[in-house]
Symmetry: C2
Subunit: 292 residues, 2 copies
């Protein structure tokens, strides 16, 4: 696990170099560029690009080939955070300890910057990518639009707390979070022309770490300090939100998350054991044990 | 011209059948589907898909090959209208004589429905398309994101009326309107593997009809009745907007628009004269003479 932290830190530096390179290569003008850059360079763990890179290495493919796809995932993730924070949606003033995009640039520019990051994720694929557009693109686009993040957010906006069972939470979490992690793993494999068996295994892996990630998020809201988390805590409870801990308690939530992590690790058995398979296994464990 | 109206009407029916087919094939759930469908089926002239189909026929390519690309353009156009109407942007309650998306579904769902139409335009390309992804996709994505509609909208939001010369208006209109028409013409040709010479000619054509279209829009705001236009008129003048007629008068504006139309028609000379070249020429003239 110490290795994973080191590895993620090293890859994060490379990923951020490429994120910047791709954004600047698009030559976007003025305040729109600034608003896109503000959120794109706001940090975070860059877990989605990291996963795509790890998959490329697991498959023995070139890092160059996966980099546009990996960074396009982060464009999408950033877009979804900007729109998620808007007054009409979650109305969050803070993101990663900094003022959210619309607090700095205004609601109009924040909407447009999110839109542009959404579209320009595809620009990054088309301008800089050389992978399997149709196969990889399908995973990618499916994770983003009305069959992915879009329907996840919609369900999260519209399903009343009183109707939320753990099954409903899993359904929301699948669309809102797991699908983009599936795009980062199975989708990256499809982009790199992997076999259907390997794509399917990584689909399983992505789904399980996605569900584990959201359950852990719910738990952290109860157990963390604001300093650890970089955002407000206890918010869910204050809003009487039907979270995993609220529905089945913290201990049972931890058990469910741990089971997802076990299944994620198990799904990797189709690959030969090597450092990158271990790294992906460690990511799953890291999700479970993270403190922010 | 009588022919063009008939032709556009016939193609509109086909386009709307495919728009519906593609949307339903994505199996998007619940209110998100409904909000996407509401705006996607709200009518309009479907000029962008029509142009892409006309280009496919001009190039002697199959209609099937261009249809996903043509409909993806309309997904994008619809997304841009939904977000354009939002309270934080133009704050329009009406669109094509009907309540705008956020008036029916609320601001949250309208943002998400626009986002999904943006992403799922690419889903349509990847799921149903068989064209030249890299070459056609580049035109397409460029027209949508921070190098196209996005920067056009941003400039329109941020450049003060007092700084707007006709050159500034042309710059805004190029990004906000012409780029997607270039995607509908030059981009469709690239998707269909046309020669660079033909792509360049259609790029010229798209640019000129785009600029003519926006100038005519400004003129119609002064000269139409609300019944003709299907939306409020005189709005620009009421808001003391620096439009073409406000800056150089109606007559001179008409002359500039007519010059763009002439240049659009001239750019088609690289193609052999046939019915579809005539149709594209007629589209340019139609833009100039339209009443809504």
């Amino acid at each position: 696990m110490g290795n994973l932290i080191e590895l993620m830190k090293k890859e994060k530096a490379t990923i951020e170099k490429y994120l910047d390179l791709y954004l600047e290569s698009l030559h976007i003008q003025g305040v729109l560029h600034d608003a896109m850059k503000y959120s794109l360079s706001a940090g975070g763990k860059r877990i989605r690009p990291f996963l795509a890179i790890a998959v490329s290495q697991l498959l023995g493919k070139s890092r160059e080939l996966v980099m546009p796809y990996a960074c396009a995932l982060e464009f999408i993730h950033t877009f979804s955070l900007i729109h998620d924070d808007l007054p009409a949606l979650d109305n969050d003033d803070l993101r990663r300890g900094k003022p959210s995009n619309h607090k700095v640039f205004g609601e109009d520019i924040a909407i447009l910057a999110g839109d542009a990051l959404n579209s320009d994720a595809f620009s990054v694929l088309f301008e800089f990518g050389e992978g399997n557009f149709q196969k990889g693109g399908r995973f990618f686009a499916r994770a983003v639009g009305g069959r992915g993040i879009g329907i996840g957010q919609t369900k999260d906006c519209t399903i009343p707390e009183s109707e939320r069972t753990v099954e409903v939470l899993d359904d929301i979490n699948y669309y809102k979070t797991a699908m983009l992690l599936i795009a980062a793993t199975a989708g990256a494999a499809a982009w790199l022309d992997a076999s259907d068996e390997k794509i399917a295994a990584l689909d399983e892996y992505g789904r399980h770490i996605g569900l584990a990630f959201q359950i852990t998020d719910d738990i952290l809201d109860v157990t963390s300090t604001p300093e650890e988390l970089g955002k407000g805590v206890g918010v869910d409870a204050m809003l009487h939100k039907a979270t995993y801990p609220a529905l089945i308690g913290i201990e049972k939530s931890r058990e469910v998350a741990a089971r997802h992590v076990d299944l994620a690790v198990k799904s990797l058995e189709v690959f030969e054991k090597n450092d990158w398979r271990d790294a992906l296994g460690d990511v799953a464990t890291y999700i479970l044990n993270r403190s922010n």
